[in-house]
């Protein structure tokens, strides 16, 4: 698998040489493979947003190298067109609506790509259907007439309409109710599979990481603290807790059960896995568990 994004010793300093100088990223190296579901976690201020803005060309490295889709992002011309291949969805994207109808707003990206009317229409319809919105119905409505969850989905469609190879989402489920969060992640997972898109999820929510991510990078104060599969990373629980981060609730539960004497595996990622493991161990002990 070739890396679709490669970062080597990336350092980013805001306002260098002024009294407001801030080193947001300090020597980060990582690789994201094509088609992967990659999560980036870290406390507020750890540099997550700064990092992902290097992926679509918004920021250039102060030191170090960033390669996206094989191209070196140090080149201004490369950065200028990266938005076409790497779609970045910021937090609360529904606050960015400015057109009169959903259709027009989702069409903003394709129009900027220089596509003709027919292609724009096709892209918009496809993008809306990917997020489970009816192009005929929702497309004609004003962005402010939709419910919160639907607004969020329409905003994401706006980025999907670009047809990116990589989709970066910065806390896409923030502010949604639990069911909305789950549905959104299901959608993301389904178009990842259908379109073969690489997904980079920036999040605080450890349950989401445990349930969906194939690999995860943990940032702390601009440095890469931990990296690996979710199971590997959550196994190093003490380090995570020392960084001020959490474990997913099911994992934390299993650890507590182990401490209390129940010999369950602690490398559990989801509540389903937890149920199965607890049931298995209890039945081995001869205790039936009715769920």
């Amino acid at each position: 698998m070739s890396p679709v994004i490669r970062v080597e010793n990336l350092t980013h300093i805001y306002s260098p040489g002024t009294p407001f100088e801030v080193t947001s990223l300090d020597g980060i190296s990582l690789e994201i493979n094509k088609g992967e579901f990659f999560a980036i976690v870290g406390a507020t201020g750890s540099g997550k947003s700064t990092l992902v803005q290097h992926f679509n060309g918004l920021l250039a490295p102060t030191c170090g190298k960033v390669w996206v889709c094989g191209a070196d992002a140090a080149d201004k011309k490369v950065r200028r067109d990266l938005w076409r291949r790497v779609g970045l969805v910021f937090q609360r994207p529904e606050q960015q609506f400015f057109e009169e109808t959903i259709f027009e707003d989702v069409a903003f990206g394709p129009k900027n790509m220089g596509l003709n009317k027919g292609e724009v229409r096709e892209r918009v319809s496809k993008a809306l259907r990917l997020v489970d919105l009816d192009p005929e119905q929702a497309g004609k409505q004003s962005p402010f007439q939709l419910s919160g969850g639907n607004m969020r989905r329409a905003a994401i469609a706006g980025v999907l309409a670009l047809g990116p190879e990589v989709l970066v989402l910065d806390e896409p489920t923030a502010g949604l109710d639990p069911r909305g969060r789950w549905q959104l992640l299901d959608h993301i997972e389904s178009f990842r599979r259908e379109q073969g898109i690489t997904v980079v999820l920036v999040t605080h929510n450890m349950e989401e990481v445990g349930a969906r991510a194939e690999r995860v990078a943990v940032l702390n104060k601009g440095r890469l603290a931990l990296q690996g599969t979710p199971r590997e990373v959550f196994n190093r629980a003490e380090e995570l807790l020392a960084l001020g981060l959490d474990l997913p609730a099911p994992t934390a539960l299993m650890r507590k059960l182990r401490e209390a004497g129940l010999p369950v595996r602690a490398d559990i990622l989801t509540s389903t896995e937890a149920e199965e493991e607890i049931a298995k161990v209890l039945s081995q002990r001869g205790t039936a568990l009715r769920i």
Partner: protein, 260 residues
């Protein structure tokens, strides 16, 4: 240039904001009415003495001047090159006359002193104090129907939201750029259109915030200025009275030097 409060403990920092407004206004008047070198010395003396009393580093004041250097340069050049009189230097159609030189230097001095005087106010007075002072000064006009409290409250809220809106504008810029928006391409005709993705959401967001803020204020029993008290009242002290005397003296001096 205007909104940059620099905290400190100098004489000027400790004056009542109303006194400071009076100082600045009188300094401005004396700068504008100075017609001879004595008048200028008086005006410049007041401004520079006040600047020294702030005990702030010079670079802070120079920043304000630097921000408006284009204005200063243009007015200087206009006076220098377009004032008729005894020619000192000729460069084709452009003639630099003695009168032009004098006029240019005079206007440069006047503008610089005015900018310094304005900076005095904004550098040594926090936005909250400033609006409190303005509200107090305008309150006698309430009897004539001027909503002094409401105006001051509007100013306070606006000042408080400037950094928030700036940040939001930056976020919007990044988000729309991520969808391929170009804000500087094309001619002026394209400009207005290309700024829509920035301004529409910004204004929508500002309206949303305004509504939330109004609800929050009402939830804490805000009902306008009627019977409203302050936690830190404004009161004149001996420093203010001394400054008041200086202000009157300088004003009297300027008028005298101008007309006598």
């Amino acid at each position: 240039m205007l909104v940059q409060y620099f905290p400190g403990d100098s004489l000027l920092h400790r004056l009542d904001p109303r006194t400071k407004v009076a100082v600045v206004l009188s300094a401005a008047m004396s700068v504008l009415t100075a017609a001879n070198w004595q008048g200028f010395v008086l005006a410049a003396g007041l401004v520079l003495a006040a600047v020294a009393l702030t005990r702030l580093p010079a670079r802070v004041f120079l920043r304000g001047l630097r921000g408006l250097w284009v204005l200063l340069a243009i007015t200087f050049l206009v006076q220098l090159l377009l004032t008729p009189g005894e020619v000192l230097l000729g460069l084709g159609p452009l003639k630099i006359s003695r009168e032009g030189l004098t006029a240019g230097v005079l206007i440069f001095l006047r503008l610089s002193l005015l900018i310094l005087a304005a900076s005095l106010l904004t550098l040594t007075t926090s936005p909250i104090s400033l609006t409190a002072g303005l509200e107090s000064m305008l309150s006698p006009l309430q009897r004539l129907g001027l909503p002094a409290h409401e105006l001051a409250m509007m100013m306070t809220i606006a000042l408080r939201f400037i950094p928030t809106l700036l940040q939001e504008a930056q976020s919007l810029l990044r988000a729309q750029r991520s969808r391929g928006a170009r804000f500087s391409a094309g001619g002026p005709a394209n400009w207005a259109r290309s700024l829509l993705p920035l301004f529409v959401p910004l204004i929508a967001g500002a309206l949303r915030r305004a509504e939330d803020l109004a609800t929050a204020m009402e939830a804490r029993c805000y009902r306008g200025g009627a019977n409203r008290t302050r936690i830190r009242g404004l009161a004149f002290n001996s420093l203010d009275y001394a400054a008041g005397v200086v202000v009157l003296a300088v004003l009297a001096g300027s008028v005298a030097l101008r007309f006598l």
